[in-house]
């Protein structure tokens, strides 16, 4: 457990300084007051600073750990990057990278980004505790790609409906398949299914009533 102590002229100041040092927002730490500030005699003698202890919540700790692992990896790769993060609405953590090496970090068809994400997740989930979904993004790449993939899936669904024939997509990673499943879930005229194993797992879009 990583906990830090911080001092300040008031409790608020000490908390503020501590949050800055940790790089975490207020809701991801538990604050314990160790000592209240005391102005002493006329603010001259016997004054005492406020002292607080900040203990990251489980999510806070996971955020710090994931960031640390990612920073270590990027440093080993010799890449300079800013790391920002946000909590995903559906749960989990998204780490955002930006900097001069964006292209390198994305790689061909996002391969490098995917590998980076996989390795970070592997290392972080070695720690006991709740499994955390970790998503990496470089300057909005993941979001742009998700939208493109959705458009593509919708076009294929139209084609399936007009021809009545199922369509098999190229092998895709689990995240991409998930995107397609989700966007076509709302369409009751087609159904989607993944077939095959591992690297060769392919998604099939078929008319709703038809067996695969």
């Amino acid at each position: 457990m990583i906990a830090i102590e911080e001092v300040g002229r008031s409790i608020e100041e000490a908390v503020e300084a501590g949050l800055k040092r940790l790089g975490l927002p207020r809701e991801l730490v538990v604050v314990e007051t160790l000592e209240e500030a005391n102005r002493g005699f006329l603010g001259l003698v016997g004054g005492r600073q406020a002292r607080v202890r900040l203990v990251p919540t489980q999510m806070g700790e996971q955020v710090l750990h994931a960031k640390e692992v990612l920073a270590g990896l990027l440093q080993a790769m010799g890449v300079e990057t800013e790391i920002g993060w946000e909590e995903l609405p559906e749960g989990g953590l998204r780490l955002n990278l930006s900097g001069p090496h964006a292209g390198l970090l994305i790689g061909k068809h996002g391969q490098t980004l995917e590998a980076l994400q996989f390795i970070v997740h592997r290392i972080v989930s070695r720690q006991p505790g709740e499994r955390l979904r970790i998503q990496l993004d470089v300057e909005g790449y993941v979001e742009r790609r998700r939208q493109q993939l959705e458009q593509y899936a919708l076009r294929l669904a139209q084609q399936v409906k007009s021809t009545g024939e199922p369509v098999t997509l190229d092998p895709m990673n689990p995240a991409d398949r998930r995107t397609v499943h989700l966007v076509l879930q709302r369409d009751s005229e087609v159904r989607t299914e993944s077939l095959g194993e591992g690297l060769l797992r392919r998604l099939v879009i078929a008319p709703a009533g038809r067996r695969l």
């Binding site: 692992v69 270590g72 990896l73 080993a76 790769m77 010799g78 890449v79 090496h101 390198l104 970090l105 790689g107 391969q111 490098t112 995917e114 590998a115 980076l116 996989f118 390795i119 592997r122 290392i123 070695r126 591992g198 690297l199």
Partner: protein
């Protein structure tokens, strides 16, 4: 140059149960650098992963790093 070895070492040490047993050596050829990785026998699965996914990811990151250095590198995991 240093980066490629460091990267593999960093990842391997972060993944295994016995980081002290991780050995990485670099064999520099004319065109290709070979990075050899050795881990404790019980940790082999940790650096290879299900269907080799971990090993493949390490190779992808190694390639990205090598490209940046205008080099070519291959990773060999030795038993």
């Amino acid at each position: 140059m240093k980066e490629m070895k460091e990267l593999v070492e960093f990842i391997a040490k972060s993944l295994v149960d016995e980081p002290d047993q991780v050995r990485v050596t670099e064999v520099e050829g004319e065109k290709i650098t070979i990075i050899e990785l050795r881990v404790a026998p019980g940790d082999l699965g940790k650096v290879i992963g299900k269907q080799g996914r971990t090993a493949r990811s390490i190779r992808t990151l190694l390639n990205a790093t090598a490209t940046k250095l205008r080099k070519r590198a291959v990773l060999e995991i030795l038993e």
